[in-house]
Symmetry: C2
Subunit: 469 residues, 2 copies
């Protein structure tokens, strides 16, 4: 009887679909069950049949629709070529860190930590609490939820020596992730055609945001304790730049942390040049051997523009970050954010504040530090044992990545492909250089994959390297 029923439903829906416009929505399974007095299994069977015949299409989670057919002649987008002209920035720049995951492969290419490193219980509880408050139904000011602004400001206050003024809550502007902060800062404080000093290598997302803003990059090499102050001074002098984008703590990709002397010297240069230091403290919660020491703590007159995000330490779904800026620079950035996106979802702001003010948050951060250390050391050991040609220089004191120098003459993109064919996905170092790479590098994220798979990494890399010279 099931079969006959399914046939009956199929034929009724088929005639209905014949007269309905393409894209018309079928009644829900539940409604069809009621209408035809059949079981859900029978209804599903009829729908599957119609779908296989190309008469309807099911959009998971949405519903079933009569199939929309493309007309005989394909759409002609040729006219857009002239309307759009050539792109101002390289189009379609998708980083290899954003590749979809590859089943079964060992994946060290992502920019995000594994789920085990996220405070899952705190995140879910905070979101559920926020869903029950006003935050679920109201709009927040363009500058953010005042209590969350106060929290970001208080975090910097904790790093401010006595006698210096910490930022006020109104100087902390809430944004939807630090990428939008970088875009606004580059647009509002630098601008198209203007120079921006930048470390090399540095975060590819910053390079992308700067290119989008039409900014001219002025790279300075940066090593394990930061850039040479003389190089920074020279870059400012030659370019006339008024801003320097840098990651003084646990830089992405190298993991480097600037020495206290370098930080002080760079701050002095920036002050002397009447310029901004754009300090990206992306890994504030991801220290391993040391704690982060944000330079904004030593700023008094608004030279440091500070960025801190919760996306990597709280949850990728919690797109919440802050820009801390003082003086007219703050107003310029806020004005750009308001024009760009008006405001950030108060639900996410409220939930993020909930997470970071729970007692469980500090406990969680301590556990993450230990896990990152174990993971970093295990991956480094695998490389030392299996691929002794790879130079790690020094272990990063924090962050999520190993940055590895390969022997001269290694073809990095060839290596990446050889690794991939052996089930290991890594990111070519080229993406982190604003200009030509200083040598062949790869970046290996030790926080995203199951560490039980790390022991194979060195061996696979070694095999692949022998074919990529």
């Amino acid at each position: 009887m099931g079969n006959d029923s399914a046939g009956r439903i199929e034929s009724a829906l088929r005639s209905w679909a014949g007269t309905a416009p393409p894209g018309a929505r079928l009644p829900s399974t539940r409604a069809l069950v009621a209408q035809y007095g059949a079981s859900p299994v029978t209804v599903q069977k009829a729908l599957r049949k119609l779908s296989a015949l190309g008469i309807v299409e099911t959009r998971p989670g949405v519903g079933t629709f009569t199939r929309s057919v493309r007309p005989g002649s394909p759409a002609d987008f040729g006219w857009q070529t002239a309307a759009l002209g050539t792109p101002r920035t390289r189009a379609g720049a998708l980083s290899s860190t954003q590749r979809a995951s590859v089943p079964d492969a060992i994946q060290l290419h992502s920019g995000y930590p594994a789920r085990e490193l996220l405070p899952e219980r705190l995140v879910r509880a905070a979101l559920i609490r926020a869903a029950r408050t006003d935050a679920a139904l109201t709009r927040t000011p363009a500058s953010g939820l005042p209590a969350l602004q106060a929290w970001f400001a208080s975090q910097v206050a904790a790093a401010t020596p006595p006698g210096l003024a910490p930022p006020s809550p109104r100087e902390a502007l809430i944004i939807a992730g630090s990428q939008s902060g970088l875009s606004s800062i580059f647009r509002a404080l630098v601008g198209p055609g203007q120079p921006l000093v930048i470390e090399s290598p540095t975060y590819w997302g910053a390079i992308l945001a700067a290119e989008q803003a039409g900014v001219v990059l002025v790279p300075v090499p940066s090593g394990p304790v930061g850039p040479e102050p003389e190089e920074v001074e020279r870059a400012f002098a030659l370019s006339g730049a008024r801003a320097f984008y840098a990651q003084p703590n646990f830089a992405n990709p190298t993991g480097a942390q600037w020495s206290r002397e370098t930080g002080q010297a760079v701050l002095d240069i920036v002050r002397g040049r009447n310029a901004f230091l754009i300090e990206d403290d992306w890994a504030h919660d991801l220290g391993i051997d040391t704690d982060p020491a944000p330079l904004i703590g030593h700023d008094h007159d608004g030279h440091v523009i500070y960025l801190r995000s919760l996306t990597k330490s709280v949850s990728p779904a919690m797109r919440v970050a802050a820009v801390i800026a003082r003086g007219p620079a703050r107003d310029r950035i806020l004005s750009d954010r308001a024009a760009e996106s008006m405001y950030v979802s108060g639900l996410l702001q409220s939930a993020a504040l909930d997470v970071v003010t729970q007692p469980g948050w500090t406990t969680h951060l301590r556990a993450v530090r230990q896990q990152l250390k174990t993971r970093r050391d295990l991956l480094a050991e695998s490389l030392r044992d299996g691929a002794p040609d790879v130079d790690l220089h020094q272990l990063p004191p924090g962050g999520l990545n190993l940055w590895a120098r390969l022997p001269d003459g290694t073809d990095v993109h060839h290596l990446v492909r050889e690794c991939e064919s052996r089930g290991l996905i890594i990111a070519p170092g080229t993406e982190w250089f604003p200009a030509e790479p200083s040598g062949p590098h790869i970046r290996l994220n030790y926080s995203c994959e199951d560490p039980a798979r790390f022991p194979d990494v060195g061996r696979i890399l070694h095999q692949a390297m022998s074919l990529a010279r």
Copy 2:
């Protein structure tokens, strides 16, 4: 009891901090536990609250201190004047629609509907469900959650006549609210220094986004059935523009809906000019007398770039919208979004999809339509009765606002101030004009205030008008 204790300690420490010098050290947690007979957890809770409020600051490993105020010498931001130069767009543009609410006043200035018009139960339930899924802890692709892309595409498919191809899910790009869509579209498809045809009056947020993108606005007057096609043709011809930003359904601020003939004629002009029509369907869910008829349904070759947001109909905390675009234009917009913000919170996307696919959603939309009609008619009646000099021209067939023409010679900003001093907050019409206003107008949102207060509006307006001539 925990809560009361924490509150008691918080309030005691607050008064103490009010008299203590900045930087004074608080007693240790242990001492406070003894002093107040509370648990360490309760004391910590009180301290966290004070810290979030910016009253005290905790320096880990050192102690808790009353907040150190700015040092005697105020910070000197003068150097930023030269570093920043003059702003490229008018700075600090905050619309009067974004003003904070004024207690006790009758508030008709906001751009958002009142909470009673939101599907509160559906929103809370959807957020709670999403908080329990993977969406709370994972990243989504830059183009959006595939099922939500499919839903936005299917909505347009429902408005596509048979024979024409509806957009595919991949052509629907998810964005965090339509303001960020406008910014990306203007940057990616028009660009700095390039002309953009725009209705006058039109949405102030679009004017702001266009200014931020450095676009040159080319206004055409637009009436109750849309712009005159001849004016549109002339604007394209004289400016050489390749794009037209318009709101064919329930325009903000006028509520106008284009006639079918106007829509067809404008589409023909746009096709003939090899140009884009940027169709902002912001009020798709807010029809009253008619249904929206999106022009994208009649597009085949990617001339219409379509924007639809759920922020106003689902919840202001649900910053989720979509841009539908075809051909290379889609890739340009996606590329700009990726550089600007990488991706949109999957939690919000997942919850938004949940809301709009519940059976309760259509029931809700029907109820909203009825409420909007009642509110619109009640406010219009109050104006007709109390302020007969105000010309409403015709009732808007949809949207959230009455757009009123005032007698010639009325000083709109004076009127707004006179109304405010009488407890009525309204928005001056000037903000919706890309150039000089065509006459004195005000915008009155009938969806945000308690309609029980509408009967007073006409009278107050009339009194204020007599003083603002």
